[in-house]
Amino acid sequence: MWRFVLRRAALVVPTFIGVTLLAFALIHLIPGDPVENISGERGMEPARRTRLLHEFGLDRPLPVQYGSYVAHVLRGDLGHSLTTHVGVAQEFGTLFPATVELAFFAMLFALVVGVPAGVIAAVRRNTAADYAVMGVSLAGYSMPIFWWALLLILFFSVQLGWTPVSGRIAVEYDVPAVTGFMLIDTLMAGDLAAFRSALSHLILPTIALGTIPLAVIARMTRSAMLEVLREDYVRAARAKGLSRMRVIVVHALRNALIPVVTVVGLQVGLLLSGAILTETIFSWPGVGNWLIHGVQARDYPVVQGGILLIAGIVIAVNLIVDVLYGVINPRIRHG
């Protein structure tokens, strides 16, 4: 088991080089630079521009810049934002809980709806229920997040007025940030009205972000269930006289979850990239929103550091999923 974890951890090194190189190259490929962005439309006198470029270290050749960036990162220094002058790691740490909160509920939504939907579709194969689940999930998978999010806002927030349009909590509430998770902070502050407000702000972004993983999980669960339901041990479980429900949940679903867990792990990466769009549309104060602003301001340290941290988290989650795979599948654990 530990050898397996170590082997997986060793793969982090090439991934780290790839991610830093890619983030560095991509942000420098975008036309413009931070100084140009600061000067705005009226321009800046060339001498000041040269001085600022030198101050930011942007007048050096690109390989040197990359080398010094990596050297700093290895010492644990992600640099400071060029616009706010706050440390990148510190800014990320402040904003990340908001993204985690959103991503967690999106995944929860996707699992709680997607797994039962997939099971029902498999058990009632080729019935109206099956076609409905498959049709809706195909539509959900094909829908661009930004468009789907706008539709949700237009219908539920604007037409029906059920949910707020954007943000994380209504402006009248001021809750001290202890954990950074709004639902927990409002409860710790004992402010139920604020908790309700935070919850209602969470609903639409959760649905918007959770729809694609939901569709993937429903389809994956269905196909895994269809395969498992044909297995001998399912027939043998029925021959024992177990109830239909117990055969489906305890025996079939348990086995079908093995591939589903892998898919969930892969979805976490997609979830974080989807969060960037969702956060921008709902003005959700998380790292996705922050990254978009960083790109617009050509804030190199923010973009590079943000991408690196997100990549690190995705790698960690996938490692956890691989370990979990061993827990859920005895054949791997004792293999």
């Binding site: 297995e231 021959a239 024992k240 006289g241 177990l242 086995n255 599948n329 005895p330």
Partner: protein
């Protein structure tokens, strides 16, 4: 009074307008404590007969019968729920591939416990410790070494023979009156086959348990069973007591099956085989099902399907020209 009484059992696939019969009017009696060998080639409907008796035929398969009675209880009149209660309890079943029949995600102990919890005594159902003791004694009964240790084993840690012993332990947890064994030794090594058959024979003696032994392996039937039912393309071709049928088969198909066994034909240079294959479920002849493959077929065989004609003492043959005059 037979323990199992089946009359006119049909299992149909295909559309109701054009049914495709997998089992086509099977009559079958099993006496208490009797071992009946159900023999036939692949696709003869023998496994489907066992599954129908268990109530495990899945859609799109449809089961109908004039009578399916177990212990004088009409199974067809039972609700799905009552039927499920019998399965695994008073009627149990084991399958061809024991390793695939155990759920890979759970330990032997868990899967035994499931059966004991449903079909054990009242004390066992209520008390986990009693269930554990029963599980250990069941594993001991099927000759598994070091039972307490084995409770924690996962199926992939067991050999095929061990896995089949575990399946048998699960099956007898409900103290069944009838055990349906569907090719119980086919997937096992020859030496292990003999051990498992000996185990089944012993359990049958000790528990006074009847057994429906489904197999294509005639020597296994000759050694183990009291009576044989030979099936072909969904119908019973011949039934009779074991020594009688092996000494003097009444149906050309039974004769052909016997001619293809090495043990039965010592000294002969070549074994005989039956030309052709079992007709497909959608391609059954109108006359005798065997007519296209039968060396003794006459014109009437292709036009008129023979009836299963009894000859007293358990013997019946479905042939226009039986080898032995009843």
């Amino acid at each position: 009074m037979a323990l199992v009484e089946i009359r006119g059992l049909h299992v149909d696939f295909g559309s109701p307008a054009r049914p495709l019969p997998a089992v086509d009017g099977v009559d079958l009696d099993i006496g208490a404590g009797e071992i009946v060998g159900l023999v036939g080639e692949s696709g003869s409907g023998k496994s489907m007969t066992g599954l129908a008796l268990m109530g495990l035929v899945d859609a799109p398969g449809r089961v109908r019968a004039e009578r399916v009675a177990f212990d004088d209880q009409d199974l067809l009149a039972l609700s799905m729920r009552e039927r499920a209660k019998l399965a695994g309890g008073r009627i149990a079943m084991i399958f061809q591939d024991p390793q695939a029949s155990l759920d890979p995600c759970y330990t032997v102990g868990f899967q035994l416990d499931e059966a004991i919890r449903l079909h054990g005594s009242a004390a066992e159902r209520a008390n986990p410790t009693a269930r554990r003791e029963r599980a250990v004694s069941l594993l001991r009964e099927v000759d598994i070494p070091d039972p307490p240790q084995r409770l924690h084993a996962y199926p992939h840690q067991l050999s095929g023979g061990m896995a089949q012993r575990v399946m048998i332990a699960i099956a007898v947890a409900g103290r069944p009156r009838l055990l349906i064994a569907d090719e119980p030794t086919t997937a096992l090594d020859v030496t292990v086959q003999a051990q498992v058959l000996a185990l089944l024979a012993r359990l049958r003696r000790e528990h006074d348990m009847a057994m429906l032994l489904i197999t294509h392996d005639l020597p296994v039937v000759a050694e183990t069973a009291d009576r044989v039912v030979v099936m072909y393309a969904g119908q019973v071709m011949e039934t009779g007591d074991v020594p009688a049928i092996f000494e003097a088969p009444g149906h050309p198909y039974t004769q052909a099956l016997l001619d293809s066994i090495p043990e039965h034909n010592e000294g002969r240079a070549r074994l005989r085989t039956i030309a052709g294959v079992v007709p497909g479920i959608d391609d059954r002849p109108t006359g005798c099902l065997l007519a296209p493959r039968c060396e003794r077929a006459e014109p009437i065989c292709s036009s008129e399907r023979p009836l299963l004609r009894g000859g007293g003492a358990h013997r019946a043959v479905r042939c226009h020209f039986p080898l032995l005059k009843p």
